[in-house]
Symmetry: C2
Subunit: 363 residues, 2 copies
C-alpha cells in the first residue's frame, strides 16, 4: 500500500515552533492507525533562507517537491528583513499557482472553551466551510498605468476568470455540499456592481447547479454576505467564492468564531497531479516568536486536514485509517480547547510544547 | 440667505413609507432652527415609474435635478418586476456617477437599546466612519470575454483607479479624521494579492499622509481588516476604502453594531458642483412593504446627515443652525432607540408613523 511523502516546511517565526507539535501529533496518529507517512524536512521557503541566498527557495524547488504528496507548511514572512510581497510571491503564492492548488479550503467552527466574539452563540451553532478559488480571479499583476506621474494618471487592474478555473471551484463546492447533511451552498458574488466578471461567475454557478438538483443554493452579494457572517452565521453550510471574496470570508468566518489563531487551511489540488499544501492561517507572528507560547492547534488541525485529504485519494478500506485519524485528532483538539491546557492567546499560561503533548496524549 | 432645494425621491417599497417620516422630522427642524429648505417631490427613480415608462427616470432627469442642492432618496428596487441591475444602474448608480458623488459616507455607531451581535460591547465603544470611493475602482463594465462559449473561455474584468479619483477620496478621509478627536485613519488595501491597483492606492495614501502629519494611519489588508471589525471595532476612527472594499466594510460595520436596518448614508459631491444624495442603506424591503411597520430611523438619520452636509457649505454663523439641527435629530434618535417606541425589527410592536412622531416630538 501507498506511502505518502510529506515535505515539511516550517518557514518563519512561530512556524518553526508549531511545526514540531504538528509532527508530534502526526507521529501518534501514524503509530495508532498504521498510516504510512515519510517526512522530508526543508529549511527553505523562509526569510532565513532568503537572507543567505537572496531568494526564498532554491531554483530547483519544484523538482525537489514535485514527488511529494503534500506540503506541510508553517508560516512565511519576516517583514523586518524581507518585504511581504517578496516572501509571499516567492513561496506560498508560487506553490498555489505552480502546483495548481486551485482550492483553498477553510473550516469555520465554534468550539467550547474558545471565547466567541458574537453574543449568544454556542459550540455547534456555527459549522461551515469556505471554498475559495486559489489561483486566478482578482489576484493578478496584469494591468498598468497610463500617464504615469501626472495628474491624468490612470491605473488599470485586470481580473481573470477562466471557465476552467471558475467551473472547477464551483464543482468542488457542490461536491463538498453534497457530502454534508444540509446540502446547502451559498455563492458569493457582486454582480450588481462588478459588471463583467461577476455576472459570468453567476452564470457558471447557475449552469453547475443544474447538475446538482439535490443541493439548495443561494446567491449573495459580498457586502450583505459579510454582514450575515456576523448576524446569522448558523445559516451557512458551504460558501464558495472567488479568490478575493474567499480571502475575505475565510478570515471573517474564523474571526466570528474567535478562531483566527486556530484556523487551518488546505490549498488543494484535488486532481492530485501536484502536491497539496496545508498550513495554519495565523502567519509567522514576529511579536511572540521565540517565547515558546504560540498556540499549535492551527498547525495540528492543518495536519489533520492533510490526513483527511490524503485518505480520500485512496480507495475503500485503505482510506478509513486516514479519515479516522483526522476525526480522532479533531476530537482531541475539541477536548483540549474545552478543558485546557491553554496558551496565553486563550487566557492560559501553558506553552506550545505542553499543548502539543496534550493533544498527542489524547490521540 | 440661501434656500436649499431638496429633491425628494421616495422610490420603491418601504422607501415610500419611511420618506414621510423623514420629511416630518425635517419640518420640525425647519421650524425650530429656522432652516431654509424647499422640497420638490418626484415619483420617478422607481420601479413603478419603470412599469409605466420602460425606464427608471425621465430622459431629462439630469436637468430636472441639477438645480437641487440635495437628493433625499428612499430606496430603489422591486426585483419581481425589474431586475436589480436595471433598477440600480438606471437610478442610484447613475446619480453617483453623473453627479460625481465621489464619497460614500457611512457612520458606524453602537446605540443603547439596539441589540449588538457582538458580545460585551456597549454604546460609545464603537463610533467610526467608513469613507468609500463611490465612482470608480472595481465597479466597472470594462472588460470582455475571449473564446466565448468554449472550454477555453476567459473573462477579463478591469478596475480603474485614477489619480484624481484616488487622491480626492483619500483627501476627504484625512480631512474628516483631522476633525475628530482621535485623528486616526485606517487605510484598507490588498496590495499583497492585487498587484497593480492596490500598490498604487497604497502609494497615493503614503503621499497624502505627508500632508497630514498630525493624523496617525495604519494600512490593513481587507481580509484581516474585516476580521478586526468583529474583533476590535473600538480601534477604528475613520476608515477609507476603494469602492468595493468600502461597500463591504460599510455593510459589515453596521452589521457589527446591529444597525444594518438603521444605517444612513451620504453620497457626497464635496465640491458642491452637483447635488449630493442621502439615503437609508436598507433598501426597499418587499417582504414588509405595505404593513406600515418599517423602521424610519435610517431615513431620518439620512435627513440629518443631509442637514449637516448642507450646513458645512455655509460660512460661520449661517452654518450653526444646520449643524445644531443634525445634532438635535441624532440625540432624538438616540433617545427613541433607548426608550422606545420600537418597530418590530427591534422587538417592539409600534409602527412607522409612531416612530416618526416620537422622533419629531423630541426635536
Ligand atoms: C446595490 C448596490 C449596487 C450598492 C453598491 O454596491 O454600491 C449597495 O450595496 C450600496 O452599498 O449602496
Ligand atoms: C498573505 C496573503 C497574500 C494571503 C492571501 O491573500 O491569499 C493570505 O491572506 C491568505 O489568505 O492565505
Amino acid at each position: 500500500s501507498k506511502t505518502f511523502r510529506i515535505a515539511v516546511l516550517p518557514g518563519d517565526g512561530i512556524g518553526k515552533e508549531v511545526m514540531p507539535e504538528g509532527l508530534k501529533v502526526l507521529q501518534k496518529a501514524v503509530d495508532k492507525f498504521g498510516l504510512k507517512l515519510q517526512f522530508e524536512h526543508h529549511e527553505w521557503a523562509s526569510c532565513d533562507y532568503y537572507a543567505k541566498h537572496g531568494d526564498m527557495m532554491p531554483v530547483d524547488w519544484k523538482e525537489r517537491l514535485a514527488g511529494s504528496d503534500a506540503l506541510l507548511f508553517g508560516a512565511v514572512g519576516w517583514p523586518d528583513t524581507v518585504p511581504d510581497h517578496v516572501s509571499l510571491w516567492g513561496s506560498l503564492l508560487k506553490f498555489r499557482r505552480e502546483f495548481d492548488q486551485y482550492i483553498n479550503l477553510r473550516p469555520v467552527r465554534l468550539f467550547d472553551g474558545v471565547p466567541c466574539p458574537l453574543a449568544n452563540r454556542k459550540a455547534g451553532d456555527i459549522d461551515f466551510f469556505v471554498v475559495r478559488e486559489n489561483t486566478e480571479g482578482e489576484y493578478t499583476s496584469l494591468g498598468g498605468t497610463m500617464f504615469p506621474g501626472t495628474d491624468r494618471e490612470i491605473v488599470i487592474q485586470e481580473s481573470v476568470f477562466s471557465r476552467i478555473g471558475t467551473d472547477r471551484v464551483l464543482k468542488y463546492a457542490f461536491e463538498l455540499a453534497s457530502q454534508r447533511a444540509r446540502k446547502h451552498l451559498t455563492i458569493a458574488t457582486k454582480s450588481n456592481g462588478i459588471a463583467i466578471s461577476m455576472p459570468y461567475w453567476d452564470s457558471r454557478a447557475a449552469e453547475m447547479a443544474k447538475k446538482y438538483p439535490d443541493i439548495t443554493t443561494d446567491k449573495q452579494h459580498i457586502d450583505i454576505l459579510s454582514a450575515r457572517f456576523v448576524l446569522q452565521p448558523g445559516r451557512f453550510d458551504v460558501v464558495v467564492a472567488s479568490n478575493l471574496f474567499g480571502d475575505i470570508l475565510s478570515d471573517l468566518g474564523p474571526a466570528c468564531t474567535g478562531t483566527i489563531g486556530l484556523a487551518p487551511s488546505g490549498n488543494l489540488n484535488p486532481d492530485r497531479q501536484f502536491p497539496s499544501l496545508f498550513e495554519p492561517v495565523h502567519g509567522s507572528a514576529p511579536d511572540i516568536y521565540g517565547k515558546g507560547i504560540a498556540n499549535p492547534i492551527a498547525m495540528i488541525w492543518s495536519a489533520a486536514l492533510m490526513l483527511d485529504f490524503l485518505g480520500r485519494g485512496l480507495s475503500g478500506d485503505e482510506q478509513q485509517p486516514y479519515l479516522q485519524a483526522h476525526d480522532t485528532i479533531l476530537k482531541a483538539i475539541e477536548t483540549v480547547l474545552a478543558q485546557g491546557p491553554r496558551t496565553p492567546d486563550l487566557g492560559g499560561n501553558s506553552n506550545t510544547v505542553a499543548l502539543g503533548d496534550a493533544v498527542a496524549q489524547l490521540v
